[in-house]
Protein backbone atom coordinates (compact mmCIF):
# COMPACT_ATOMS: atom_id res chain seq x y z
CA UNK A 1 0.00 0.00 0.00
CA UNK A 2 1.59 3.18 -1.04
CA UNK A 3 -0.72 5.73 0.41
CA UNK A 4 1.24 8.83 -0.28
CA UNK A 5 -0.46 11.70 1.43
CA UNK A 6 -1.70 14.22 -1.02
CA UNK A 7 -1.66 11.89 -3.97
CA UNK A 8 -5.05 10.32 -3.68
CA UNK A 9 -6.37 8.54 -6.70
CA UNK A 10 -4.50 7.97 -9.85
CA UNK A 11 -6.84 9.56 -12.30
CA UNK A 12 -5.37 13.00 -11.64
CA UNK A 13 -1.94 12.12 -12.79
CA UNK A 14 -3.17 9.89 -15.58
CA UNK A 15 -5.03 12.82 -17.00
CA UNK A 16 -2.07 15.13 -17.20
CA UNK A 17 -0.86 15.29 -20.79
CA UNK A 18 2.49 16.85 -19.99
CA UNK A 19 5.32 14.38 -20.56
CA UNK A 20 7.70 14.10 -17.69
CA UNK A 21 10.81 14.56 -19.78
CA UNK A 22 9.79 17.98 -20.92
CA UNK A 23 8.51 18.91 -17.55
CA UNK A 24 11.75 17.93 -15.92
CA UNK A 25 13.70 19.95 -18.41
CA UNK A 26 11.59 23.06 -18.13
CA UNK A 27 11.51 22.68 -14.37
CA UNK A 28 15.30 22.49 -14.26
CA UNK A 29 15.54 25.52 -16.50
CA UNK A 30 13.08 27.36 -14.29
CA UNK A 31 15.23 26.83 -11.23
CA UNK A 32 18.46 27.36 -13.14
CA UNK A 33 17.38 30.80 -14.32
CA UNK A 34 16.61 31.83 -10.77
CA UNK A 35 19.80 30.59 -9.17
CA UNK A 36 22.28 33.44 -8.66
CA UNK A 37 25.16 31.11 -7.82
CA UNK A 38 24.73 29.24 -11.05
CA UNK A 39 24.39 32.40 -13.12
CA UNK A 40 27.36 34.19 -11.54
CA UNK A 41 29.60 31.12 -11.72
CA UNK A 42 28.63 30.38 -15.27
CA UNK A 43 29.05 34.04 -16.25
CA UNK A 44 32.60 34.29 -14.96
CA UNK A 45 33.69 30.97 -16.42
CA UNK A 46 32.21 31.80 -19.82
CA UNK A 47 33.81 35.24 -19.85
CA UNK A 48 37.25 33.75 -19.26
CA UNK A 49 36.58 31.01 -21.76
CA UNK A 50 35.64 33.53 -24.44
CA UNK A 51 38.77 35.57 -23.63
CA UNK A 52 40.86 32.44 -24.02
CA UNK A 53 39.23 31.52 -27.32
CA UNK A 54 38.93 34.91 -28.99
CA UNK A 55 41.76 36.86 -27.32
CA UNK A 56 44.68 35.13 -29.07
CA UNK A 57 43.09 35.77 -32.48
CA UNK A 58 43.76 39.46 -32.08
CA UNK A 59 47.37 39.07 -31.09
CA UNK A 60 49.74 39.03 -34.01
CA UNK A 61 52.83 37.83 -32.22
CA UNK A 62 54.07 35.00 -30.07
CA UNK A 63 53.17 35.63 -26.43
CA UNK A 64 56.77 35.05 -25.39
CA UNK A 65 58.20 37.38 -28.00
CA UNK A 66 59.96 40.51 -26.77
CA UNK A 67 57.74 43.08 -28.38
CA UNK A 68 57.82 46.22 -26.36
CA UNK A 69 59.60 48.36 -23.85
CA UNK A 70 60.66 46.60 -20.67
CA UNK A 71 58.91 46.80 -17.31
CA UNK A 72 55.98 48.93 -18.39
CA UNK A 73 52.91 49.21 -16.15
CA UNK A 74 49.53 48.75 -17.85
CA UNK A 75 48.89 51.31 -20.55
CA UNK A 76 46.68 51.88 -23.58
CA UNK A 77 49.05 49.97 -25.80
CA UNK A 78 50.00 47.16 -23.44
CA UNK A 79 46.82 46.59 -21.45
CA UNK A 80 48.42 44.49 -18.75
CA UNK A 81 51.87 46.03 -19.03
CA UNK A 82 55.08 44.23 -19.98
CA UNK A 83 57.61 41.99 -18.25
CA UNK A 84 61.22 42.73 -17.38
CA UNK A 85 62.07 41.51 -20.88
CA UNK A 86 59.36 43.44 -22.67
CA UNK A 87 56.92 40.60 -23.22
CA UNK A 88 53.23 41.58 -23.56
CA UNK A 89 51.48 40.31 -20.41
CA UNK A 90 48.00 40.65 -21.96
CA UNK A 91 49.08 38.33 -24.77
CA UNK A 92 50.51 35.89 -22.25
CA UNK A 93 47.33 36.08 -20.22
CA UNK A 94 44.88 35.23 -23.01
CA UNK A 95 47.13 32.45 -24.33
CA UNK A 96 47.52 31.26 -20.77
CA UNK A 97 43.75 31.15 -20.31
CA UNK A 98 43.47 29.03 -23.42
CA UNK A 99 45.98 26.47 -22.18
CA UNK A 100 44.44 26.53 -18.71
CA UNK A 101 41.06 25.58 -20.14
CA UNK A 102 42.67 22.94 -22.34
CA UNK A 103 44.43 21.36 -19.38
CA UNK A 104 41.21 21.49 -17.40
CA UNK A 105 39.18 19.79 -20.12
CA UNK A 106 41.85 17.26 -20.99
CA UNK A 107 43.18 16.47 -17.50
CA UNK A 108 39.71 16.61 -15.96
CA UNK A 109 38.35 14.59 -18.88
CA UNK A 110 40.90 11.78 -18.52
CA UNK A 111 40.25 11.63 -14.77
CA UNK A 112 36.49 11.68 -15.38
CA UNK A 113 36.56 8.85 -17.91
CA UNK A 114 38.76 6.62 -15.76
CA UNK A 115 36.96 7.55 -12.54
CA UNK A 116 33.43 6.97 -13.80
CA UNK A 117 34.37 3.77 -15.65
CA UNK A 118 36.00 2.32 -12.55
CA UNK A 119 33.19 3.60 -10.34
CA UNK A 120 30.40 2.21 -12.49
CA UNK A 121 31.96 -1.20 -12.98
CA UNK A 122 32.86 -1.54 -9.30
CA UNK A 123 29.46 -0.35 -8.10
CA UNK A 124 27.48 -2.38 -10.59
CA UNK A 125 29.43 -5.63 -10.62
CA UNK A 126 30.18 -5.81 -6.92
CA UNK A 127 31.88 -8.83 -5.38
CA UNK A 128 35.48 -9.59 -6.23
CA UNK A 129 35.65 -7.08 -9.10
CA UNK A 130 34.53 -4.37 -6.73
CA UNK A 131 37.12 -5.38 -4.18
CA UNK A 132 39.96 -5.34 -6.70
CA UNK A 133 38.95 -2.01 -8.21
CA UNK A 134 38.45 -0.59 -4.78
CA UNK A 135 41.92 -1.63 -3.77
CA UNK A 136 43.47 0.01 -6.85
CA UNK A 137 41.43 3.14 -6.22
CA UNK A 138 42.60 3.34 -2.64
CA UNK A 139 46.23 2.80 -3.60
CA UNK A 140 46.10 5.63 -6.15
CA UNK A 141 44.18 7.75 -3.66
CA UNK A 142 46.86 7.54 -0.99
CA UNK A 143 49.75 8.07 -3.40
CA UNK A 144 51.06 11.59 -2.89
CA UNK A 145 49.89 12.69 -6.33
CA UNK A 146 52.05 15.81 -6.50
CA UNK A 147 55.23 13.89 -5.78
CA UNK A 148 54.42 11.26 -8.39
CA UNK A 149 53.66 13.97 -10.90
CA UNK A 150 56.87 15.82 -10.16
CA UNK A 151 58.95 12.68 -10.55
CA UNK A 152 57.14 11.50 -13.64
CA UNK A 153 57.10 14.81 -15.42
CA UNK A 154 60.65 15.72 -14.44
CA UNK A 155 61.93 12.62 -16.24
CA UNK A 156 59.80 13.06 -19.31
CA UNK A 157 61.47 14.12 -22.52
CA UNK A 158 58.50 15.84 -24.10
CA UNK A 159 56.78 18.13 -21.66
CA UNK A 160 53.72 19.16 -23.66
CA UNK A 161 50.34 20.30 -22.52
CA UNK A 162 48.73 16.98 -23.28
CA UNK A 163 51.32 14.92 -21.49
CA UNK A 164 50.83 17.09 -18.46
CA UNK A 165 47.06 16.71 -18.75
CA UNK A 166 47.36 12.96 -19.14
CA UNK A 167 49.41 12.62 -15.99
CA UNK A 168 47.11 14.86 -14.03
CA UNK A 169 44.20 12.75 -15.20
CA UNK A 170 45.94 9.52 -14.29
CA UNK A 171 46.48 10.62 -10.71
CA UNK A 172 43.28 12.49 -9.88
CA UNK A 173 40.51 10.03 -10.77
CA UNK A 174 40.21 8.03 -7.53
CA UNK A 175 37.82 10.19 -5.58
CA UNK A 176 35.54 10.46 -8.60
CA UNK A 177 35.61 6.67 -8.83
CA UNK A 178 34.62 6.37 -5.19
CA UNK A 179 31.81 8.90 -5.52
CA UNK A 180 30.40 7.28 -8.65
CA UNK A 181 30.76 3.82 -7.16
CA UNK A 182 28.67 4.64 -4.12
CA UNK A 183 25.91 6.11 -6.28
CA UNK A 184 26.00 3.25 -8.77
CA UNK A 185 25.92 0.78 -5.90
CA UNK A 186 22.61 2.13 -4.67
CA UNK A 187 21.12 2.44 -8.15
CA UNK A 188 22.26 -1.05 -9.16
CA UNK A 189 19.93 -2.63 -6.63
CA UNK A 190 16.85 -0.95 -8.08
CA UNK A 191 14.32 -3.29 -9.54
CA UNK A 192 14.47 -1.72 -12.98
CA UNK A 193 18.11 -2.65 -13.21
CA UNK A 194 17.23 -6.26 -12.42
CA UNK A 195 14.52 -6.04 -15.03
CA UNK A 196 16.99 -4.82 -17.63
CA UNK A 197 19.16 -7.82 -16.81
CA UNK A 198 16.17 -10.06 -17.34
CA UNK A 199 15.65 -8.34 -20.68
CA UNK A 200 19.00 -9.65 -21.84
CA UNK A 201 20.81 -6.34 -21.75
CA UNK A 202 24.57 -6.26 -21.61
CA UNK A 203 26.30 -4.76 -18.62
CA UNK A 204 27.64 -1.66 -20.34
CA UNK A 205 24.23 -0.99 -21.83
CA UNK A 206 22.58 -1.25 -18.44
CA UNK A 207 25.14 1.14 -17.01
CA UNK A 208 24.81 3.69 -19.79
CA UNK A 209 21.06 3.56 -20.33
CA UNK A 210 19.63 2.68 -16.93
CA UNK A 211 22.03 3.88 -14.27
CA UNK A 212 23.96 6.82 -15.71
CA UNK A 213 20.91 8.88 -16.82
CA UNK A 214 19.62 8.74 -13.28
CA UNK A 215 22.76 10.35 -11.93
CA UNK A 216 23.50 12.78 -14.73
CA UNK A 217 23.56 15.81 -12.47
CA UNK A 218 25.95 14.01 -10.19
CA UNK A 219 28.23 13.24 -13.13
CA UNK A 220 28.21 16.83 -14.35
CA UNK A 221 29.24 17.95 -10.91
CA UNK A 222 32.05 15.41 -10.71
CA UNK A 223 33.39 16.67 -14.00
CA UNK A 224 33.33 20.29 -12.86
CA UNK A 225 35.23 19.45 -9.71
CA UNK A 226 37.80 17.42 -11.64
CA UNK A 227 38.13 20.24 -14.15
CA UNK A 228 38.86 22.77 -11.41
CA UNK A 229 41.21 20.34 -9.70
CA UNK A 230 43.20 19.76 -12.90
CA UNK A 231 43.65 23.50 -13.42
CA UNK A 232 44.98 23.90 -9.91
CA UNK A 233 47.39 20.97 -10.16
CA UNK A 234 48.65 22.22 -13.52
CA UNK A 235 49.21 25.68 -12.08
CA UNK A 236 51.13 24.15 -9.21
CA UNK A 237 53.33 22.12 -11.55
CA UNK A 238 53.94 25.12 -13.79
CA UNK A 239 54.84 27.22 -10.82
CA UNK A 240 57.59 24.89 -9.69
CA UNK A 241 58.95 24.86 -13.20
CA UNK A 242 57.54 21.62 -14.57
CA UNK A 243 55.14 23.20 -17.02
CA UNK A 244 55.04 22.61 -20.76
CA UNK A 245 58.38 23.59 -22.25
CA UNK A 246 58.23 26.68 -24.41
CA UNK A 247 54.51 27.12 -23.81
CA UNK A 248 52.57 29.64 -21.89
CA UNK A 249 50.12 29.17 -19.08
CA UNK A 250 48.87 31.06 -16.09
CA UNK A 251 51.05 28.94 -13.84
CA UNK A 252 54.15 29.57 -15.95
CA UNK A 253 53.46 33.31 -15.83
CA UNK A 254 53.38 33.13 -12.07
CA UNK A 255 56.57 31.14 -12.10
CA UNK A 256 58.50 33.61 -14.21
CA UNK A 257 57.07 36.53 -12.24
CA UNK A 258 58.38 34.98 -9.07
CA UNK A 259 61.68 33.97 -10.71
CA UNK A 260 62.37 37.54 -11.84
CA UNK A 261 61.37 39.05 -8.51
CA UNK A 262 58.24 40.81 -9.75
CA UNK A 263 56.97 40.98 -6.19
CA UNK A 264 60.09 42.67 -4.86
CA UNK A 265 60.16 45.07 -7.79
CA UNK A 266 56.50 45.98 -7.21
CA UNK A 267 55.55 44.79 -10.71
CA UNK A 268 52.04 43.89 -9.57
CA UNK A 269 50.77 43.73 -13.15
CA UNK A 270 52.93 40.69 -13.72
CA UNK A 271 51.61 38.37 -11.03
CA UNK A 272 48.10 39.71 -10.35
CA UNK A 273 46.46 38.75 -13.69
CA UNK A 274 47.51 35.08 -13.71
CA UNK A 275 46.93 34.71 -9.98
CA UNK A 276 43.52 36.30 -10.15
CA UNK A 277 42.67 34.37 -13.32
CA UNK A 278 43.32 30.99 -11.68
CA UNK A 279 41.49 31.96 -8.52
CA UNK A 280 38.51 33.35 -10.41
CA UNK A 281 38.12 30.35 -12.71
CA UNK A 282 38.44 27.72 -10.01
CA UNK A 283 36.39 29.76 -7.54
CA UNK A 284 33.56 30.33 -9.95
CA UNK A 285 33.61 26.66 -10.97
CA UNK A 286 32.99 25.74 -7.36
CA UNK A 287 30.21 28.31 -7.06
CA UNK A 288 28.76 26.95 -10.29
CA UNK A 289 28.89 23.49 -8.79
CA UNK A 290 27.00 24.58 -5.69
CA UNK A 291 24.45 26.28 -7.92
CA UNK A 292 24.01 23.15 -10.04
CA UNK A 293 23.57 21.11 -6.91
CA UNK A 294 20.76 23.40 -5.82
CA UNK A 295 19.12 23.21 -9.23
CA UNK A 296 19.27 19.44 -9.55
CA UNK A 297 18.63 18.46 -5.95
CA UNK A 298 14.98 19.10 -5.13
CA UNK A 299 15.73 19.05 -1.42
CA UNK A 300 18.06 22.03 -1.69
CA UNK A 301 15.73 24.03 -3.92
CA UNK A 302 13.55 25.16 -1.09
CA UNK A 303 16.40 26.75 0.83
Amino acid sequence: MTSVAGAPGTADSAGSPEPVGERRFSETLHFARRNPKLLIGLGIVLTFLLLGIIGPLFIGHDPNEYVGPQTQPPSGEYWFGTTTFGQDIWAQFVYGLRSTFLIGVFGGGVAFVIGTAVGFVAGYKGGIIDEILNMITNVVLVLPAMVVLIVAIAYLEARGLFVQGLFIGLTSWPWAARAVRSQALSLATRDYVDLARLSGRRTWKIITTEIAPNMSSYLVMSFILLFGGAILIAAGLDFIGLGPAGGVSLGLMLQSASQWSALQLSMWWWFIPPGLGITAIVGSLYILNVGLDEVFNPKLREL
Binding site: M1, T2, S3, V4, A5, G6, A7, P8, G9, T10, A11, D12, S13, A14, G15
Partner: protein, 316 residues
Protein backbone atom coordinates in the same frame (compact mmCIF):
# COMPACT_ATOMS: atom_id res chain seq x y z
CA UNK B 1 -19.32 9.96 23.33
CA UNK B 2 -15.55 10.37 23.09
CA UNK B 3 -15.27 11.81 19.65
CA UNK B 4 -17.71 13.57 17.41
CA UNK B 5 -16.58 14.57 13.94
CA UNK B 6 -18.96 16.75 12.01
CA UNK B 7 -18.70 17.44 8.28
CA UNK B 8 -14.90 17.64 8.42
CA UNK B 9 -13.20 18.87 5.28
CA UNK B 10 -9.43 18.91 4.91
CA UNK B 11 -7.84 19.65 1.54
CA UNK B 12 -4.26 19.38 0.33
CA UNK B 13 -2.93 22.41 -1.45
CA UNK B 14 -1.04 21.60 -4.61
CA UNK B 15 0.16 23.65 -7.53
CA UNK B 16 -2.76 22.42 -9.60
CA UNK B 17 -5.43 23.17 -7.01
CA UNK B 18 -6.96 21.64 -3.92
CA UNK B 19 -6.97 17.89 -3.53
CA UNK B 20 -10.13 17.10 -1.61
CA UNK B 21 -8.69 14.31 0.50
CA UNK B 22 -11.36 14.59 3.18
CA UNK B 23 -14.60 15.97 1.86
CA UNK B 24 -17.29 16.14 4.49
CA UNK B 25 -16.75 13.35 7.01
CA UNK B 26 -19.22 12.85 9.88
CA UNK B 27 -19.06 10.13 12.51
CA UNK B 28 -19.10 9.44 16.26
CA UNK B 29 -16.81 7.31 18.34
CA UNK B 30 -18.30 5.92 21.55
CA UNK B 31 -16.40 5.60 24.85
CA UNK B 32 -14.28 2.51 24.73
CA UNK B 33 -14.88 1.93 21.04
CA UNK B 34 -12.14 0.59 18.80
CA UNK B 35 -13.00 1.65 15.31
CA UNK B 36 -11.26 0.16 12.30
CA UNK B 37 -10.87 2.66 9.50
CA UNK B 38 -10.47 0.80 6.23
CA UNK B 39 -10.10 1.79 2.62
CA UNK B 40 -7.78 1.72 -0.34
CA UNK B 41 -4.76 3.95 -0.72
CA UNK B 42 -5.73 7.54 -1.34
CA UNK B 43 -9.19 7.23 0.19
CA UNK B 44 -8.39 9.78 2.90
CA UNK B 45 -8.00 7.45 5.87
CA UNK B 46 -4.47 8.59 6.73
CA UNK B 47 -5.50 12.22 6.23
CA UNK B 48 -8.35 11.74 8.68
CA UNK B 49 -5.97 10.36 11.30
CA UNK B 50 -3.45 13.15 10.77
CA UNK B 51 -6.10 15.89 10.81
CA UNK B 52 -7.04 15.03 14.35
CA UNK B 53 -3.59 15.76 15.66
CA UNK B 54 -1.62 18.00 13.38
CA UNK B 55 -2.18 19.54 9.97
CA UNK B 56 1.04 19.61 8.00
CA UNK B 57 1.96 22.64 5.94
CA UNK B 58 0.10 21.50 2.84
CA UNK B 59 -3.11 20.56 4.62
CA UNK B 60 -5.86 23.10 5.01
CA UNK B 61 -8.87 22.88 7.30
CA UNK B 62 -11.75 23.88 5.07
CA UNK B 63 -14.72 23.21 7.31
CA UNK B 64 -16.35 21.06 9.93
CA UNK B 65 -15.62 20.43 13.59
CA UNK B 66 -14.09 17.81 15.85
CA UNK B 67 -15.30 17.45 19.42
CA UNK B 68 -13.42 15.39 22.00
CA UNK B 69 -15.18 14.64 25.31
CA UNK B 70 -17.58 17.48 24.60
CA UNK B 71 -14.86 20.04 23.96
CA UNK B 72 -13.99 21.50 20.59
CA UNK B 73 -10.64 20.42 19.11
CA UNK B 74 -9.07 23.46 17.43
CA UNK B 75 -7.35 21.58 14.65
CA UNK B 76 -6.60 24.64 12.54
CA UNK B 77 -4.77 26.32 15.43
CA UNK B 78 -1.42 24.62 15.79
CA UNK B 79 -0.50 26.27 19.12
CA UNK B 80 -3.82 25.50 20.75
CA UNK B 81 -3.36 21.85 19.78
CA UNK B 82 -0.10 21.49 21.71
CA UNK B 83 -1.62 20.78 25.15
CA UNK B 84 -3.99 18.24 23.61
CA UNK B 85 -1.42 16.21 21.77
CA UNK B 86 -0.17 13.15 23.56
CA UNK B 87 -2.31 13.89 26.65
CA UNK B 88 -5.71 13.79 24.97
CA UNK B 89 -5.03 12.59 21.44
CA UNK B 90 -2.09 10.44 20.48
CA UNK B 91 -1.06 9.27 17.05
CA UNK B 92 1.14 6.35 16.06
CA UNK B 93 2.05 7.33 12.53
CA UNK B 94 2.79 5.01 9.67
CA UNK B 95 6.45 3.91 9.77
CA UNK B 96 6.70 5.11 13.39
CA UNK B 97 9.12 2.36 14.18
CA UNK B 98 11.61 3.45 11.56
CA UNK B 99 11.31 7.01 12.87
CA UNK B 100 13.02 6.16 16.15
CA UNK B 101 16.32 7.98 16.38
CA UNK B 102 18.97 5.28 15.84
CA UNK B 103 21.63 6.97 17.98
CA UNK B 104 19.56 7.29 21.16
CA UNK B 105 18.75 4.62 23.63
CA UNK B 106 15.02 3.98 23.94
CA UNK B 107 14.96 5.07 27.58
CA UNK B 108 16.58 8.40 26.85
CA UNK B 109 14.13 9.05 24.06
CA UNK B 110 11.20 8.33 26.36
CA UNK B 111 12.56 10.68 29.03
CA UNK B 112 13.08 13.49 26.56
CA UNK B 113 9.59 13.06 25.25
CA UNK B 114 8.09 13.12 28.73
CA UNK B 115 10.04 16.20 29.80
CA UNK B 116 8.93 18.00 26.67
CA UNK B 117 5.37 17.40 27.88
CA UNK B 118 6.17 18.63 31.39
CA UNK B 119 6.11 15.22 33.03
CA UNK B 120 8.90 14.03 35.34
CA UNK B 121 10.11 10.68 33.99
CA UNK B 122 10.66 9.36 37.54
CA UNK B 123 6.97 9.83 38.38
CA UNK B 124 5.93 7.56 35.63
CA UNK B 125 8.79 5.04 35.55
CA UNK B 126 6.86 2.32 37.40
CA UNK B 127 3.90 2.63 35.11
CA UNK B 128 6.19 2.52 32.09
CA UNK B 129 7.82 -0.69 33.28
CA UNK B 130 4.47 -2.27 34.07
CA UNK B 131 3.18 -1.51 30.60
CA UNK B 132 6.29 -2.75 28.87
CA UNK B 133 5.88 -6.03 30.70
CA UNK B 134 2.24 -6.12 29.76
CA UNK B 135 3.09 -6.09 26.06
CA UNK B 136 5.66 -8.81 26.66
CA UNK B 137 8.80 -6.71 26.64
CA UNK B 138 11.65 -6.83 29.12
CA UNK B 139 12.16 -3.45 30.82
CA UNK B 140 15.74 -3.84 29.65
CA UNK B 141 14.63 -2.52 26.23
CA UNK B 142 14.97 0.98 27.65
CA UNK B 143 18.72 0.51 27.73
CA UNK B 144 18.90 -0.61 24.16
CA UNK B 145 19.20 1.13 20.82
CA UNK B 146 16.35 0.90 18.33
CA UNK B 147 18.49 -1.16 15.95
CA UNK B 148 18.76 -3.91 18.54
CA UNK B 149 15.01 -4.46 18.55
CA UNK B 150 12.93 -6.36 16.03
CA UNK B 151 10.11 -4.66 14.15
CA UNK B 152 7.47 -6.07 16.44
CA UNK B 153 9.36 -5.00 19.56
CA UNK B 154 9.82 -1.48 18.23
CA UNK B 155 6.16 -1.22 17.34
CA UNK B 156 5.20 -2.28 20.87
CA UNK B 157 7.60 0.25 22.37
CA UNK B 158 6.07 2.99 20.23
CA UNK B 159 2.64 1.86 21.36
CA UNK B 160 3.56 2.00 25.06
CA UNK B 161 5.20 5.40 24.70
CA UNK B 162 2.32 6.98 22.84
CA UNK B 163 -0.25 5.85 25.39
CA UNK B 164 1.79 6.56 28.51
CA UNK B 165 -0.24 9.61 29.51
CA UNK B 166 -3.55 7.78 29.05
CA UNK B 167 -4.93 9.74 26.11
CA UNK B 168 -8.66 9.70 25.39
CA UNK B 169 -8.09 8.88 21.77
CA UNK B 170 -5.36 6.86 20.10
CA UNK B 171 -5.01 6.90 16.34
CA UNK B 172 -2.93 4.00 15.03
CA UNK B 173 -2.03 4.32 11.36
CA UNK B 174 -1.11 1.03 9.67
CA UNK B 175 0.84 -0.03 12.76
CA UNK B 176 0.87 -3.70 11.90
CA UNK B 177 1.31 -3.56 8.13
CA UNK B 178 5.06 -4.03 8.13
CA UNK B 179 5.00 -6.88 10.64
CA UNK B 180 4.99 -10.62 10.17
CA UNK B 181 1.71 -12.41 10.80
CA UNK B 182 2.60 -13.77 14.20
CA UNK B 183 3.89 -10.43 15.53
CA UNK B 184 0.96 -8.70 13.92
CA UNK B 185 -1.41 -10.74 16.04
CA UNK B 186 0.52 -10.02 19.23
CA UNK B 187 0.57 -6.27 18.59
CA UNK B 188 -3.10 -6.16 17.66
CA UNK B 189 -4.04 -8.08 20.78
CA UNK B 190 -2.05 -5.78 23.03
CA UNK B 191 -3.86 -2.81 21.57
CA UNK B 192 -7.17 -4.34 22.60
CA UNK B 193 -5.70 -5.04 26.04
CA UNK B 194 -4.72 -1.38 26.39
CA UNK B 195 -8.28 -0.35 25.73
CA UNK B 196 -9.64 -2.94 28.17
CA UNK B 197 -7.36 -1.63 30.90
CA UNK B 198 -8.35 1.94 30.21
CA UNK B 199 -4.93 3.15 29.09
CA UNK B 200 -6.72 4.66 26.15
CA UNK B 201 -10.40 5.37 26.07
CA UNK B 202 -11.08 4.91 22.38
CA UNK B 203 -9.07 4.03 19.37
CA UNK B 204 -9.10 4.52 15.63
CA UNK B 205 -7.18 1.79 13.90
CA UNK B 206 -6.34 2.81 10.35
CA UNK B 207 -5.56 -0.08 8.02
CA UNK B 208 -6.03 -1.44 4.53
CA UNK B 209 -6.47 -4.94 5.90
CA UNK B 210 -10.14 -5.55 6.67
CA UNK B 211 -9.63 -9.08 7.91
CA UNK B 212 -7.18 -7.83 10.54
CA UNK B 213 -9.46 -5.09 11.73
CA UNK B 214 -12.30 -7.58 12.02
CA UNK B 215 -10.25 -9.45 14.61
CA UNK B 216 -9.93 -6.53 17.00
CA UNK B 217 -12.31 -3.68 16.25
CA UNK B 218 -15.81 -3.10 17.59
CA UNK B 219 -16.87 -1.13 14.56
CA UNK B 220 -15.51 -0.70 11.06
CA UNK B 221 -15.77 2.43 8.97
CA UNK B 222 -15.07 2.19 5.26
CA UNK B 223 -13.94 5.23 3.28
CA UNK B 224 -13.83 5.79 -0.44
CA UNK B 225 -12.41 8.82 -2.26
CA UNK B 226 -12.66 11.23 0.67
CA UNK B 227 -16.14 10.13 1.76
CA UNK B 228 -17.44 7.70 4.33
CA UNK B 229 -19.37 4.96 2.58
CA UNK B 230 -20.35 2.77 5.50
CA UNK B 231 -19.92 2.37 9.26
CA UNK B 232 -21.25 -0.53 11.28
CA UNK B 233 -20.31 -3.08 13.94
CA UNK B 234 -17.42 -5.20 12.71
CA UNK B 235 -19.39 -8.38 12.21
CA UNK B 236 -22.09 -6.52 10.27
CA UNK B 237 -19.59 -5.02 7.87
CA UNK B 238 -18.06 -8.42 7.19
CA UNK B 239 -21.22 -10.50 7.04
CA UNK B 240 -23.93 -8.11 5.90
CA UNK B 241 -22.35 -5.14 4.19
CA UNK B 242 -24.92 -2.88 2.57
CA UNK B 243 -22.93 -0.46 0.45
CA UNK B 244 -21.98 -1.90 -2.95
CA UNK B 245 -18.37 -0.78 -2.50
CA UNK B 246 -18.02 -2.59 0.81
CA UNK B 247 -19.67 -5.66 -0.66
CA UNK B 248 -17.33 -5.75 -3.63
CA UNK B 249 -14.28 -5.00 -1.52
CA UNK B 250 -14.99 -7.85 0.85
CA UNK B 251 -15.87 -10.10 -2.06
CA UNK B 252 -12.42 -9.44 -3.52
CA UNK B 253 -10.52 -10.73 -0.49
CA UNK B 254 -9.16 -14.23 -0.68
CA UNK B 255 -8.92 -15.89 2.69
CA UNK B 256 -7.38 -18.99 4.06
CA UNK B 257 -9.56 -21.79 2.81
CA UNK B 258 -10.77 -20.11 -0.37
CA UNK B 259 -9.12 -21.36 -3.52
CA UNK B 260 -9.43 -20.43 -7.11
CA UNK B 261 -10.69 -23.87 -7.95
CA UNK B 262 -13.73 -23.44 -5.74
CA UNK B 263 -14.66 -20.22 -7.42
CA UNK B 264 -12.93 -17.15 -8.69
CA UNK B 265 -13.19 -13.96 -6.76
CA UNK B 266 -13.61 -10.78 -8.72
CA UNK B 267 -11.93 -7.42 -8.20
CA UNK B 268 -13.55 -4.05 -8.69
CA UNK B 269 -12.98 -2.78 -12.23
CA UNK B 270 -11.71 0.75 -12.71
CA UNK B 271 -9.78 3.06 -10.43
CA UNK B 272 -10.87 5.53 -7.77
CA UNK B 273 -11.59 9.05 -9.07
CA UNK B 274 -8.98 11.75 -8.72
CA UNK B 275 -9.69 14.12 -5.88
CA UNK B 276 -8.46 17.25 -7.62
CA UNK B 277 -11.77 17.59 -9.45
CA UNK B 278 -13.87 14.82 -7.97
CA UNK B 279 -17.07 13.87 -9.81
CA UNK B 280 -20.33 15.14 -8.41
CA UNK B 281 -22.73 12.78 -6.70
CA UNK B 282 -21.71 9.38 -5.44
CA UNK B 283 -17.99 8.98 -6.00
CA UNK B 284 -18.28 5.26 -6.51
CA UNK B 285 -20.91 5.49 -9.25
CA UNK B 286 -18.51 4.94 -12.15
CA UNK B 287 -17.39 1.58 -10.77
CA UNK B 288 -20.72 0.57 -9.28
CA UNK B 289 -22.80 -2.08 -11.06
CA UNK B 290 -25.95 -0.85 -9.32
CA UNK B 291 -25.59 2.81 -10.28
CA UNK B 292 -28.70 4.55 -11.57
CA UNK B 293 -29.77 8.09 -12.40
CA UNK B 294 -30.13 9.20 -8.80
CA UNK B 295 -26.44 8.53 -8.14
CA UNK B 296 -25.51 11.84 -9.73
CA UNK B 297 -26.67 13.37 -6.45
CA UNK B 298 -24.47 12.74 -3.46
CA UNK B 299 -26.13 10.17 -1.19
CA UNK B 300 -26.23 11.21 2.49
CA UNK B 301 -24.79 8.98 5.21
CA UNK B 302 -27.92 7.67 6.93
CA UNK B 303 -28.51 5.26 9.77
CA UNK B 304 -30.25 2.33 8.10
CA UNK B 305 -30.52 0.35 11.32
CA UNK B 306 -29.22 1.18 14.80
CA UNK B 307 -25.45 1.62 14.61
CA UNK B 308 -25.29 0.87 10.89
CA UNK B 309 -24.69 3.84 8.63
CA UNK B 310 -24.38 3.78 4.86
CA UNK B 311 -24.21 6.34 2.07
CA UNK B 312 -26.00 4.82 -0.89
CA UNK B 313 -29.34 5.56 -2.56
CA UNK B 314 -30.02 1.83 -2.88
CA UNK B 315 -29.78 1.15 0.83
CA UNK B 316 -31.53 4.23 2.16
Amino acid sequence: MTLRVNDLKVYYQTLRGDVRALDGVTFDLADGEIMGLAGESGCGKTTLGKSMIRLDSRMRHVGGTIELNGKDVPIADDDAMVPLRYREISLIPQYAMSALNPTRKIGRMVNELLRARGVRPADIADELNRRLELVGLDTDVLNRFPIELSGGMKQRVVMVISTLLDPSLLIADEVTSALDVSTQRAVAESMVEFRDRGYVKSMIFVTHDISLVYQMADTIMVMYAGHIVEKAPAATIINEPKHPYTQMLIGALPEVGSTMVQGRLEGIPGTPPGLLNPPTGCRFKDRCPMAFSKCSEQPPLVEIEPGHWAACWKTG
